[in-house]
Amino acid sequence: MPSGQTGMSTGSREAAILGAHEAPYTRHPAPGRDTLALLREAVLGALADAGLDVGEVDGLGVASFSLPPDHTIDLAWRLGLKLRWVMEDPHGGGSGVNLLQHAIRAIEAGDAETIVLCAGDNLDRDAFSSLVRNYNRATAEHLAPLGFEGPNAVFAMLTQRYLAAHGLQPADLGCIPVAQRAWAAGNPGAVYREPLTIEEYMQAPLVAAPLRRLDCVPVVAGADAIVVSARGRSRAGAPEVGIRATAAVHNHDQQQGDGWHTGFSEIAPQLWAAVGARPEDVDAAFLYDDYPVMALAQAVDLGLLADGDVQRWLHATLLEARWPLNTSGGQLSCGQAGAAGGTHGLVEAVRQLRGAAEGRQVDCSLALVSGYGMVLYRHGACHNAVVLERLG
């Protein structure tokens, strides 16, 4: 099984995350706030957060659907960076953790000293429409001719399968967007912050039954970035964030399964063994929430539900006890800034672990972040996860 772990090995080159920043998400970006400007803002913000200078950067990784025809090297040139390490990841919701997995190795191997990983998009209506119809060959050749307008239709059917298999009602899944909206109230960067009730959730217009408007991430413009370097190099005075372990599996079911038996169930045992902790030891989780059902399926498959009681976790743990899942409000409240969705959870996890989550701070020393994505034909093909810890 494809996987990796940083393990507990010690050494001067053990990687850490030193800074994080999100260029604020917005539904209607101001003129000039194009993809390149958003990426610049995220890169500069993350470096400032780490207390490092732009001139120290010698590695750059990018995820952006709207960067072409430019690539990482073009962005680096526009940023005036001289680099030893370049990386680009087109895997959408899987890109953030995937880039991090590569960056950790580069730092530990000595291929780079200071890496910035950034992700962002400003997709207007036409660009978004073109993106979802031409996401890959399978989509362009086999879904677009059906009248495919994006993944809502296939995730509606996935959600139908999940509800039927678990005896749940659509309102049960509403616990996720409603609970995340309560977190968003404390996040000035969330696009949607007004309180939400289950009743209001159920009154939202249908998109594709059973999915309603509040099950579908709104398209926003924005960017995220993190700084990866060796432990002890931060000059910001804030705690650094260590990487306990990563794990990944892609194409686990060749697009032939039900979609809610995710690849995370295959990687969870080795992930937790490498972490040296149990799922219940995690203080907060940042799971890729393109749809509520996927956040739930990931939580189950990664072992967060100790007793497996989905109903209780949704209503008692998330909604009533406010267990910290996606404390930014997640993409369901912040929006999806294209490929930045794959890095959004990493940025929020770093903020929580460093005590920088103003307005929504939880007691957090160990955090789980997942990446999920590339809706290849029927559901996501990429699955990866990382467990992060506060150092010092």
Partner: protein, 120 residues
């Protein structure tokens, strides 16, 4: 279509101008696995040689109407094996369906009584 993994799976048996084609899909010559959409290597045995088989029948497992366009999408489990995404024309979940390719759109219609096997 041996060794031709691309669109050659989109072959039909009732081609006529403006008409529809019964679905035929690639079948691995190594292990017999049928796939849709077409692949480069068999996901089971990694063979690169492909034949073709009839795949016009299946069962509609789920359907949903996209409110914005009125198009109804469906998930069909083909009798030949693969689970595919279709455009539904009148069929309901649980129905046996007949699959055709219409201008590249895989379309599922409820099978008429004469098409249904004896045990259904």
């Amino acid at each position: 279509m041996s060794g031709e993994p691309g669109r050659s799976g989109v072959a039909g048996t009732s081609a006529e101008p403006g008409g529809s084609l019964d679905l035929r899909i690639p079948e691995c010559e190594g292990c017999g696995l049928a796939v849709w959409p077409p692949r480069l290597l068999c996901p089971r045995c990694h063979c690169d040689r492909w034949g073709e088989r009839e795949a016009a029948h299946g069962t509609l497992e789920e359907a949903c109407e996209l409110e914005s366009s009125g198009v109804t999408f469906g998930t069909v489990r083909l009798d030949a094996g693969p689970v595919v995404v279709v455009r539904c024309e009148g069929a309901q979940p649980g129905d046996g369906v007949h699959l055709t390719l219409e201008d590249g759109a895989l379309t599922a219609r409820r099978r008429s009584g004469s098409e249904l096997p004896d045990n259904s």
